[in-house]
Symmetry: C3
Subunit: 123 residues, 3 copies
């Protein structure tokens, strides 16, 4: 399990889009991953990991019907708690963040390539 | 509890809209239901149901203050975990799906009519 | 913990925007708060509070790595369950609500100012 700060990369895409007023969708392209907004504090990220493991434990893998050819059912559950996507506002060409808001990619099944979709609309 | 794959119906609406670049909002119109994106694997859907029942059990119904005239408090809680809505990108006239992404309507209080709102914006 | 019904204020902003067809993003600007859509029923709100306290207990505060200078790790977890934001459709100048849908601001760390962002796009 790993949380990667993608704020800078999303900001670059918004800047390059030239859009001044609009919305920006950021979503994980894997169904065992999340995009979410929260604090960039390493202690909190450890808390998230421990908490998700309690709410949707990986082991024993046999507890899940999904785990026949795969063993990642818990990753699908964890992603529902953390969410697939986030939508942010763009105002005067910049993402309209509250204090401490940072965008993270959360991977719950480590064997996957990390892919994020960023879509900017507006004018 | 039931999960219905609505991907084909949403794709048809997006196609009919003629929109090439934009966003599509899909939300449940009932507050005891969800729209979410995950895997179309029946074993996983059974896992979701069992897991939601553990996190927000239906019985005993008396454990919830909401259950005076109704007995569906747990359905309101389950819907918070699974989410009310999803937003997807439209690129070159098609929904921009990652691998295995499918859109589901989840009903947690079986006595309701199923109603979903799909809104497409862009150009 | 407190849930504030902000539906009327959001409706006013949508009306003032003059937008007839579009999307409206409503998000909490604090990472220990949520914006979500559910029922305006006080019993259910008590159920939400008790349930969130079970899933992500505040005490003992020492159970969370985040709680060194702060003691609000549980508020960050609760906000992940309830969600940061919601997106609603605007049709013929009005928010396209299902029956009983109301928009709430949920605060999980009471010491913060309450700030919500509302962004309306469309035409």
């Amino acid at each position: 399990m790993e949380f990667i700060n993608i704020t800078g990369q999303v900001e670059k895409i918004v800047e390059d889009s030239g859009i001044e007023e609009g919305l920006c969708l950021i979503n994980a392209m894997h169904i065992t991953a999340s995009v979410f907004i929260n604090d960039a504090e390493p202690g909190l990220h450890r808390d998230f990991q421990e908490w998700l493991e309690e709410l949707a434990p990986h082991a024993p893998v046999s507890q899940y019907d999904h785990n026949t050819y795969e063993d990642n059912a818990d990753a699908h559950l964890k992603r529902q708690i953390m969410g697939r996507e986030t939508v942010v506002a763009i105002t005067e060409g910049e993402i309209d963040f509250g204090p401490w808001e940072q965008i993270f990619y959360g991977e719950f099944d480590g064997q996957r390539d990390k892919k994020v979709l960023v879509k900017v609309i507006g004018e």
